[in-house]
């Protein structure tokens, strides 16, 4: 019930202590309020004049107001620090994501990461606000009331004292069982709601198959059978609430009846009896509140776990080993018998990869799907780290991996679908070179073949593009990435990962004309399965089943009767 992680958060122990003191005072106010309400009632019961209740009523009023002022005080005291904790948590989370990079996002899904940073953190905030106050309330208020009642009449206390652990016991036994069911239920619910979205998304297929109309009944039936199932589990799941409710309400009734008998036989006077009756609901209130907020706290708890999970992810160390440098004619990159295994996998994705490239060359990387092309590219770009350190080196300096800040300053990475930010076209092009002048951006755009596209835009380079604004086709996205490369003259290494795989052949031909000039004076890595690009390469790495099976110039490779030749033959088979 108590979440130990809460107290590891900065300042939480101190906060809990202050809240504890406030709740203690609040509990005293509850007792005073009950006491003086009872005094007022008893005075009237004794047919005393209305004026006799003035003082007790005023005390009751003040205590009552104080009690609720304290509720507000607790919240207001806690809120700023909870706000700060969750605010910092969000910042740390985003900073962590920034350091972990795209691989982490891919693993968790973009939607999940965004949701975690927004709703997830909000839920943590709600959780922290609820859980600390409720927990303190539950562990202080009932016992103080109990002590006071004990002071009034021992015999009644025994009953209340016994019933409390019984309630908790029932909550645990019934609650755990029922709650497990309710949680499963909740999962089932999520599954159903996913199923529904699944059906909606598959609608084009249903249309194609001519089934879409009659499928409406299926949607209804699935939902209805789920309802029946839910109701049968709810009958059990709700019993925990029922049990809690039953015991607390019945206890009050029983206390009233027992007090009634005691009063009738003159064993107790009315005032203490009435006080006990007035205080009885407040005695049970904290535990009821706690149970009511169970689901709200559950969501927050899960969100906290998810956030802490990300924050605990191991980070790549030694990112500053490589000295600052600029790739030039004489620079050299070497892979020496490198292995790579994806996390959680037993099989090596790459085995014994060695190559050595230097200066400004164009390196083609080819192979069938699953041969390890993309993994190799990711290792070169430093998005992944090799199994063992010291297998890569730049300019003779041996490195643990290529996730080096000074290496990152030297390359541009252009994937199959370059991401276009929701921003102006000009800002998209100058993403890597913030200081670029408008003329420089314009020139880069022209060189990347964007001139015609810009002419169609209402505000030219200042037109908003990207998701939610003007959509950009795959070919145009590649050209924008290309313009970035033309603009950023300081980065001399270009890493392409299948840049034309999604494009139609005519767009590809047009694009190729504009890409080729950027290759000059650059070290280029170009992974592709469109073989015509290979004719433009100086050197080719051929991947097959995670191994670098052949390497050499295209001419050398075409003479060998190896994988390269076989691959080409497969492509050329049919002749018109």
């Amino acid at each position: 019930m108590i979440d130990q992680r809460l107290f590891d958060l900065p300042g939480m122990k101190k906060n809990a202590a202050v809240i504890g003191i406030m709740i203690f005072i609040q509990a005293l106010a509850i007792i005073i309020q009950g006491r003086y309400l009872s005094v007022a009632i008893v005075n009237l019961w004794n047919i005393q004049a209305l004026s006799t209740i003035l003082v007790p009523t005023v005390i009751f009023g003040i205590a009552f107001a104080a009690r609720h002022l304290f509720t507000m005080g607790e919240n207001r005291f806690l809120y700023p620090s909870v706000e700060k904790i969750t605010g910092d948590m969000r910042k740390n989370l985003m900073a962590k994501i920034f350091r972990l990079g795209p691989a982490e996002v891919e693993k968790r899904g973009t939607g999940n990461v965004v949701t975690m940073a927004l709703e997830g953190i909000d839920q943590v905030q709600t959780y922290l606000m609820l859980v600390i106050i409720k927990m303190m309330d539950m562990s202080i208020t009932p016992w103080l009331i109990l002590l006071y009642i004990a002071y009034l009449n021992i015999w009644q206390v025994l009953f209340l004292f016994i019933i409390y652990p019984v309630i908790i016991l029932f909550m645990i036994i019934l609650g755990l069982a029922a709650q497990a069911k309710a949680d499963r239920q909740y999962e089932g619910y999520t599954r159903l709601s996913n199923h529904f979205v699944d059906t909606l998304r598959g609608l084009p297929t249903l249309k194609q198959l001519g089934l879409s109309k009659q499928y409406a009944n299926n949607v209804y039936e699935v939902s209805e059978s789920y309802r029946k199932e839910t109701m049968s589990t709810l009958v059990i799941a709700l019993t925990s609430t029922f049990a809690l409710d039953f015991f607390t309400t019945l206890s009050i009734a029983v206390v009233a009846v027992l007090l009634g008998f005691d009063l009738m036989y003159g064993k107790v006077p009315l005032l203490p009896a009435l006080t006990i009756l007035v205080l009885a609901p407040d005695y049970f209130l904290p535990i009821r509140n706690f149970a009511n907020d169970y689901h709200a706290t559950l969501n927050g708890k899960n969100a906290l776990t998810a956030v802490l999970d990300v924050l605990k992810e191991p980070e790549v160390k030694d990112r500053k080993v490589l000295k600052d440098f600029t790739w030039d004619q004489n620079s050299d990159l070497k892979f020496d018998n490198l292995d790579f295994t994806h996390r959680g996998s037993k099989k090596k994705s790459l085995t014994g990869v060695s190559f050595d490239v230097s200066g400004f060359k164009k390196i083609g990387i080819i192979g069938e799907s699953g041969s390890g092309k993309t993994t190799l590219i990711n290792l070169i770009a430093g998005f992944l780290s090799p199994d063992d350190p010291n297998k890569v080196s730049i300019n003779g300096q041996v490195l643990p991996h290529l996730d080096q800040q000074s290496w990152q300053k030297n390359f541009l990475y252009i994937p199959q679908a370059p991401y276009i930010f929701h921003d102006t076209l000009a800002n998209n092009i100058s993403f890597y070179v913030q200081k670029a002048t408008k003329e420089e951006v314009q020139t880069a755009a022209n060189r990347a073949g964007l001139t015609d596209f810009i002419a169609t835009l209402p505000d030219g380079l200042d037109t908003m593009i990207g998701e939610g604004a003007r959509e950009v086709s795959g070919g145009q996205a590649q050209r924008i990435a290309l313009a970035r490369a033309f603009l950023d003259t300081s980065r001399k290494v270009l890493i392409f990962d299948e840049p034309t795989a999604h494009l139609d052949i005519e767009t590809e031909v047009a694009l190729k004309k504009d890409i080729l000039p950027v290759f000059n004076n650059h070290l280029v890595f170009f992974a592709t399965h469109r073989l015509h690009w290979i004719n433009e390469m100086d050197y080719v790495l051929v991947m097959d089943h995670g191994r670098l099976v052949e390497q050499g110039t295209p001419e050398e490779l075409s003479k060998e009767n190896g994988v390269y030749t076989a691959l080409r033959q497969k492509m050329e088979e049919a002749d018109l």
Binding site: F64, F196, V197
Partner: protein, 580 residues
């Protein structure tokens, strides 16, 4: 109030269902009312019970009735509450079933068989969420509010029947809690909620943008800019939320103070009116104690009300989605016995919201058994042509005919003529067998197995522990892209339509997989008529005719061999595709 009326003026989502399940609804509200009534009555009765007992009556009979009642109310409250919760959940779930079906039907009317965009998926999730919001509207806002009002009326009328002046006072004091404060909450929160939503939406967009472009952010090393983008919306939201919380806390305090004043009023009233005899004075404790539990349901009314703006947005969105249902099609159910030909006759097409012709005066004909390929850069109207062909859209002028009958009149039997294999054929989250049967619900197990064998997946499926009863998982995630295409191909074999539309089925596959799949497709479908939209020339030797589209018309057409020898452009593209 005006907003309320506007929201429900053209509503087809909330009100009709309130009427449909009227009886259950009344039961839910009744049970809710009784629950809290029992809670109040328990304290009322207990107060009276001990006051009476304290007079030390000489016979047990004096307190017999209250003793029995105490137990009855003590048990009654949890029991009724339990019943209320079950009934209300049952009621809401019933409505959800209806909602789902209704939403499905409205989406179905608009859906087209040919589509490329993935964004629609997100809109659908939002709509599915909206349905859940409407569920919550009932459970957390409508039910508690109505129950609270019923109780309010009960208390006020009950007291007014004893003393109309005190009744009036209660009407005012408690009215502040159940009417005034909720209205104030909606008004203040409505504005804030709107602002918060705007900022939140912007923040969400920014953050998604950043996360999607994370690779570029990382390589650029612009860490400070990355953080700075988030600071502004975060601070703005925090400020709004702080105001919101403070408002809530003050409001809750105000509610409690009103309750306090009410209790004091009752004390004074009972102190004046009930102290004439000892017997009467026994009722004082009853009145004073009953008010606390009876006002329990009042506490959450304001909070429920302040969530109204969220619900309103959901109701409006979902109604709007339903209403702009323009192209509801009038299905005609003419049929074609044996497919002979398909013809585009002078087809011109323009989207309703577009300003230029996508297709202009297009003419071509496909005879039974012919295979044609359609090429062209994106945006030249290839998908539009397919939509017109199968009847998802109708030509602005001209006509599309199958055997001389307009496809418009064949819509009800469309799946008997056209089979479609697209870029991302959908596999539903159920078993392989069920997915295959969607092609032909009457297919026998053996027919399904034969189809899977034909596409070369029999070994793979047989090797799985549950074989044909294997779950394909969400969107077919259990299988690779190539395998998913083959499973869909098997489904099309089962469907056995004479004309097969291939809409770039190989775009996300590597060249070798692509080649294998194309060989298989053209081999298995050799007797069918095929219309194939493709983005490059791999496998082009399979077809009889190639059409190149440019600006809504064909600028190059002929057999692949002919084009290769006479059109330099075609030759260049073809050679490039083969790696030359």
């Amino acid at each position: 109030m005006k907003e309320l009326r506007e929201t429900f003026a053209h509503d087809t989502w909330v009100m009709p269902y309130l009427k449909k399940y009227k009886k259950l609804l009344v039961l839910v509200l009744f049970l809710g009312f009784i629950t809290f009534l029992c809670g109040g009555a328990l304290m009322f009765n207990s107060g009276y019970l001990i006051s009476m007992a304290a007079r030390m009556p000489n016979s047990f009979e004096y307190i017999y009735v209250p003793v029995v009642l105490a137990r009855a109310f003590g048990i009654g409250r949890p029991v009724f509450r339990y019943a209320e919760r079950l009934t209300s959940h049952n009621w809401v779930l019933r409505i959800v079933s209806d909602f789902r079906k209704k939403l499905y039907q409205s989406v179905e009317r608009k859906a087209t068989a040919i589509q490329r965009s993935h964004q629609t998926g997100d809109i659908l999730s939002i709509l599915a969420d909206d349905i859940e919001h409407i569920e919550n509207l009932y459970l957390t806002t409508v039910f508690p509010m109505v129950v609270g009002w019923l109780l309010y009326l009960f208390i006020v009328i009950g007291i007014a029947s004893l003393n109309w002046l005190v009744g009036l006072l209660m009407l005012l004091l408690l009215g502040v809690i159940v009417i005034l404060l909720p209205l104030v909450s909606v008004a203040t929160n409505g504005v804030r909620e709107f602002q918060e939503h705007q900022i939140q939406h912007q923040f969400y967009t920014n953050l998604t943008d950043q996360v999607l472009g994370l690779g570029d952010w990382m390589i650029s090393g612009r860490y400070n800019d990355f953080q700075a983008i988030q600071d502004k919306p975060i601070n703005e939201i925090a400020a709004l939320r702080k105001k919101d919380h403070y408002f809530q806390w003050w409001r809750n305090l105000a509610v409690q103070i009103m309750i306090l004043v009410s209790v004091v009023v009752l004390l004074i009233w009972t102190g004046k009116d009930f102290t004439t005899t000892k017997m009467k004075a026994n009722w004082i404790a009853a009145f004073a104690l009953a008010l606390f539990p009876a006002t329990d349901p009042f506490l959450n009314i304001s909070q429920g009300a302040s969530e109204w703006p969220i619900y309103r947005r959901s109701i409006q969105r979902i109604n709007q989605f339903d209403n702009n249902d323009s192209n509801a099609k009038d299905d005609s159910n003419q049929a074609v016995d044996k497919f002979e030909n398909l013809a585009f006759k002078d087809v011109t097409f323009q989207y309703k919201d577009g300003d230029q012709n996508i297709l202009s005066k297009l003419n071509f004909q496909v005879k039974a058994g012919e295979k044609i390929a359609l090429l062209g850069p994106s945006g030249t109207g290839k998908s539009t042509l397919l939509k017109l062909m199968i009847g998802d859209e109708n030509p602005t002028s001209g006509s599309v005919e199958v055997n001389g009958i307009s496809v418009k009149d064949l819509q009800a039997n469309r799946s008997k003529i056209f089979g479609v294999l697209d870029q991302k054929p959908y596999l539903f989250d159920t078993t392989v067998m069920n997915n295959m049967r969607l092609g032909n619900p009457k297919a026998s197990d053996q027919q399904v197995k034969d189809a899977i064998k034909a596409v070369g997946l029999a070994d793979l499926i047989e090797s799985l522990p549950k074989k044909y009863d294997t779950e394909v998982q969400e969107a077919g995630g259990r299988f690779s892209g190539g395998e998913r295409q083959r499973l869909s191909l098997a489904r099309i074999l089962l469907q056995d339509a004479p004309v097969i539309v291939l809409d770039e089925p190989t775009v996300s596959l590597d060249p070798i997989t692509e080649k294998d799949l194309l060989n298989q497709v053209f081999d298995l479908l050799k007797d069918k008529t095929i219309i194939w939209v493709t983005h490059h020339l791999a496998g082009i030797n399979h077809v009889n005719q190639v059409y190149f589209m440019e600006h809504g018309n064909f600028d190059m057409a002929g057999t692949p061999q002919h084009l290769y020898h006479t059109e330099p452009r075609f030759k260049q593209l073809y050679d490039l595709d083969r790696g030359k």
